[in-house]
Symmetry: none
Subunit: 185 residues, 2 copies
């Protein structure tokens, strides 16, 4: 590929006979090593690129988008940019790991995100509905078509959803032998 732009770190280190120091005295091999390591350490902390970017933006210094973190990890940036970003990321990550040792809560506070942000469920039964369904199940685990229709109407859920709930519920029971041992009184 003919490309007259400044090459990325990724392109430079992939060349077999390239010196590890480029003409500006930047150690490309070191950057590559750090980038790989950074990703693993980030994942070990359970953080996303978005979280890192937002956290860095919150600190003093320049702002970083998710894209910027992504491009650093992929080394899809120029050596000069990488050289500039590396110490920033290194410092931040060390701090984050320190906080993490003090507890998950500290890390989340440091990162600045809502610590309790949960993945949204595709669809879900309300707690009341689950209680009601379990009550119906206790009375009769194998309701007839008519009964399913009535339960669905009562709880204001789709009939098919209720039918499948009973199927899955029975299935679980079938695979389980120690059901009552774990039951909360």
């Amino acid at each position: 590929i003919t490309c007259s732009e400044t090459p990325t770190v990724s392109q430079l280190v992939s060349k077999p006979h390239n010196p590890s120091l480029d003409e500006d005295g930047i150690n490309l091999e070191e950057i590559r090593e750090f980038a790989k390591n950074f990703k693993i350490r980030r994942l070990s902390l359970g953080l996303t690129q978005t979280q890192v970017g937002q956290a860095l933006t919150a600190t003093e210094g320049p702002a970083y988008s998710q894209s910027a973190i992504c491009r650093f990890e992929k080394l899809d940036i120029t050596p000069k940019s990488a050289q500039k970003l590396k110490p920033v990321l290194e410092k931040w990550l060390n701090e984050a790991e320190l906080r993490n040792q003090e507890g998950q809560q500290n890390l989340m506070e440091f990162v600045g995100g809502e610590p309790s942000k949960k993945r949204k469920r595709r669809t879900s039964f309300t707690p009341q509905a689950i209680v009601a369904l379990n009550a119906y199940f206790e009375k009769n685990p194998l309701p007839t078509g008519q009964e399913i229709t009535e339960i669905a109407k009562e709880l204001n859920y789709d009939r098919e959803v209720v039918r499948v709930w009973f199927c899955n519920r029975r299935q679980t029971l079938k695979n389980t032998s120690k059901l009552n041992v774990f039951q909360i009184p």
Copy 2:
């Protein structure tokens, strides 16, 4: 929450005063530690849950889906299942790490995937195509497989590209408007 089903490992280890050995003599704490470690080691090798599942299925023994690997990592399985799966994953991962040391090529061969699988190039839709897609979306945001095929043919785009466009479009809409037409309150 009242739940009479067999609890998952995740539920059991989260209880403060729970013994780390359950009544079957399964070391829950050890399983939790392994699951966490497994994920990090998997990511370090650059493997997806899908790849692990497929690779395990290719070996002798039972088949495992991406979902199964996901549930193990999240500990969203019963202690009995976890106990059964743990040694299988451990053995496989050790082997995979060994292959990886011998070179990336060896790992990919072991995993069984196409080693050169590249990410698909990002598609740029023409403005006309976007207008047309939005019109289709207004009429029906959830087209059937048959309809997707027809739209793709009509607009002269790859079927998969059109399918994903609808997925992402629904996603964007969901994030934008609080009004969720698909979900039961």
